[in-house]
Amino acid sequence: MGAQQNPRNLADQTAPAPLFVAEHVDCTVPNDSGGKRVIFDDLAFHVNAGEIVDLTGASGAGKTTLLTAFARLNVNTTGTFTLAGRDSGDFTPQEWRRAVSYLPQTSMLMGETVADAVRLPWTFKVRSRATKGAGKTPRELLPDATIRALLDEMGCEDIDLARPPANLSGGQAARVSLCRTLLTHPRVLLADEVDAGLDAENAAKVGVVFTKAAAGGMAIIRIRHRQSDHRAKRIMVLENGKLHEEQAGEPVEAIAR
C-alpha cells in the first residue's frame, strides 16, 4: 500500500517524488525586549503520499510552529513549500490549506450540534463552490451517515450527532475535530497531538484510522509524545532547532503530560 507501489516506479529503485516538500523553513519570533529570537533556521522536511511521519521533541521545541509553517498559517515563519511539484505561491491560501490541512492541538468546534461542527468546512467557499454548482447543501454533501461511520471507528459511538459540542470531553472533542478534518480529504494532514488526551484503547482506534487514511494516499505528519505505535514510516525529532531522524526500532520516550 502507499507510494512505494506507485506503478510508474515499479521498474526502478528510486523513491517517487515526495508529495509535500518544505525547504528553508525559518522561524524568528519577536523578543520581549524588542529583538528577535531564532526558533529554528533552514529546516527541510518531506512526506510521501501514503506515508505517516511522526514528529517528536521536547515541549516548546517548535513542533507546532513547524506544522503551522507547513500550512502557511504562522506569521513568524518563512519557507518554500511544494505540493506535488507545485509551489505554494501558485495556490490561493484557501486552496493550499484545503490540500495541506493543519489540525490544531486545541479543538475548537463551532456550531450548535456535533454534526454542524463537522460540516463547518463545507460552509466555506473553497469547498462550497463545488457544492453550489451541484446544487447541494453541506448536509447533502456530507450526510449524517458518513459522519456517524467515522466517529464510530474512533470509538465515539456514544457521541450523538445532535449534541451541543460544548458538552464533549477533551478527548471526544479531539476526535470530532479529527473527524472534521479527515472528512475534508486533504492530501497532507498535519495532526498536532491528536491522541494526547486519549486512553490507550481509543488512541489505538485513532491509530487505525490514520493508517487507513494513509492507505488511501494521504500523507500524514503526526506530532506525538506517546510511545511509538509503529505506524509511522519515519520518526523525525526536532531538537535545538534542528531535525534529525530517529533510528527505526528505538522506542520514543513517552513524555508525561
Binding site: 502557511r72 498559517l73 506569521v75 518563512t78 518554500t80 491560501p93 490549506r97 468546512p121 466555506f124
Partner: protein, 332 residues
C-alpha cells in the same frame, strides 16, 4: 429653529458674540419663544456648583470632572452658537463647508480616541466612512427632503451634520472596539477556520456581525423609545421654540430614520474595510497592536507611521486594504 436672518446686517463675529452674550437676539421669532438671560445661565452653573460641592463633601470624587465638563460644555456650545450665527449671516457656502470639515475632523479624532484597542493607520478609513455618510445625509435629507433655500442654509446643514456625527461617532467607536476585541478573543477560532480553508472574510465574519450589531444598539434603542420614553432633543428644541409639534415630530422622525440608516451604513463600511487589518500576507491571522489615541493636530498633519511594527501600515486608506504591506512576508 428660527434663527434671525438679518440679510443686510454686517457680519462681524463680534456682533454675533455680543448678541449671544447679552441675549439681544432679534425677536423675529414666534412670540412663544422664551429666551434665557445671562442670569439664567448663571443659575444653571450654580446648580452644578452645588452638586459638585455635595459630591466633594461626600468625597464621591466626581466634583472636579463635572465642574470641568460643565465649563467646557458652556464654552463649546457658545462657541458653536457664535460660529453658526456668523456663518448664517455670512451666507457663504465655502464657510459652511469649512465648518463641516472641522466637524468631520473632530468627529474622526473623537471616534479614534473613544475606540480602544484599534491599530494605527485608521484615520483614512474613519474619515472616508464619515464623509460618505455625511454626503448621503446632506443629499438625501437636507436637499431632497427638506429642500432649503439657499441650498447651503447653515441653520439646517450644520445642526443636521452635528446630529449625524454624534450618533455615528458612538456607533463607530463601539463597533471598532468590539471588532478588534472580538478578533483577539477568537484567536483560536480564527486559526481553526483558516486551517480548514476559510477566507479572511469567512473567518472574520462572526466578529464583524457582533460588532455591527453592538454599534447599532443605541440607534435602535433610540428609535424604539422615541416618543414613548423620551422626546428626542431635536423635537424638544423645536417645540420649545414654538413650532407646531406635528412639524417638529416630522422633522424628528426623518432625522431618526436617516441617522439610524446612515449609522448602520457607516458601521458596515468601516468594518468591511477594516477586517483585513487582522490578517497579513497569505491570509495569516495577526491582529495589530493597539495604537495610542491621536490628537487633532496629528490628524491634520497625518505624519506617516514611524515605528517598525508588523502591520507596516501608514496612515492611508490604501495600506489598510492592502495586506501586502508586510515586512514579515512568507518567503517564496
Amino acid at each position: 429653529m428660527n434663527f434671525m436672518m438679518n440679510a443686510g446686517a454686517a457680519t462681524l463675529a463680534g456682533e454675533s458674540l455680543q448678541q449671544v452674550l447679552l441675549g439681544s437676539v432679534d425677536d423675529t421669532t414666534d412670540a412663544n419663544y422664551f429666551n434665557i438671560s445671562i442670569w439664567g445661565m448663571i443659575l444653571a452653573l450654580v446648580m452644578v456648583v452645588i452638586a459638585a460641592a455635595i459630591s466633594a463633601a461626600m468625597k464621591m470624587g466626581v466634583a472636579k470632572s463635572i465642574l470641568w465638563a460643565t465649563c467646557r460644555s458652556l464654552v463649546q456650545l457658545m462657541a458653536m452658537a457664535v460660529v453658526i450665527v456668523y456663518v448664517i449671516k455670512a451666507n457663504n457656502p465655502w464657510l459652511v463647508l469649512a465648518v463641516l470639515c472641522v466637524m468631520v475632523l473632530a468627529a474622526a479624532q473623537i471616534t479614534m480616541t473613544r475606540a480602544s484597542g484599534i491599530p494605527k493607520g485608521m484615520t483614512g478609513i474613519v474619515m472616508l466612512s464619515l464623509v460618505i455618510t455625511i454626503v448621503l445625509m446632506l443629499t438625501v435629507v437636507a436637499e431632497i427632503i427638506v429642500h432649503p433655500v439657499p441650498w447651503y442654509a447653515a441653520q439646517l446643514i450644520i445642526p443636521i451634520t452635528g446630529m449625524l456625527l454624534g450618533n455615528t461617532v458612538s456607533a463607530l467607536s463601539l463597533g471598532l472596539t468590539r471588532f478588534f476585541d472580538s478578533m483577539r478573543e477568537r484567536a483560536d477560532d480564527v486559526q481553526t477556520m483558516l486551517a480548514l480553508g476559510a477566507s479572511k472574510w469567512e473567518a472574520a465574519k462572526p466578529s464583524m456581525v457582533s460588532s455591527i450589531k453592538l454599534g447599532l444598539l443605541p440607534s435602535i434603542a433610540m428609535l424604539a423609545s422615541s416618543g414613548i420614553v423620551t422626546i428626542p432633543g431635536m423635537m424638544s428644541g423645536q417645540v420649545i421654540a414654538g413650532k407646531n409639534p406635528i412639524e417638529a415630530a416630522k422633522y424628528q422622525f426623518v432625522m431618526l430614520a436617516a441617522v439610524g440608516a446612515l449609522t448602520l451604513l457607516a458601521d458596515s463600511i468601516i468594518i468591511a474595510l477594516v477586517y483585513k487589518r487582522c490578517f497579513v500576507s497569505f491570509d495569516r491571522y495577526f491582529v495589530p497592536p493597539a495604537a495610542p489615541a491621536p490628537t487633532l493636530k496629528s490628524l491634520v498633519h497625518r505624519s506617516p507611521a514611524t515605528s517598525d511594527d508588523s502591520s507596516g501600515s501608514s496612515e492611508s486608506l490604501r495600506s489598510a486594504t492592502d495586506p501586502e504591506n508586510d515586512p514579515m512576508d512568507d518567503g517564496k
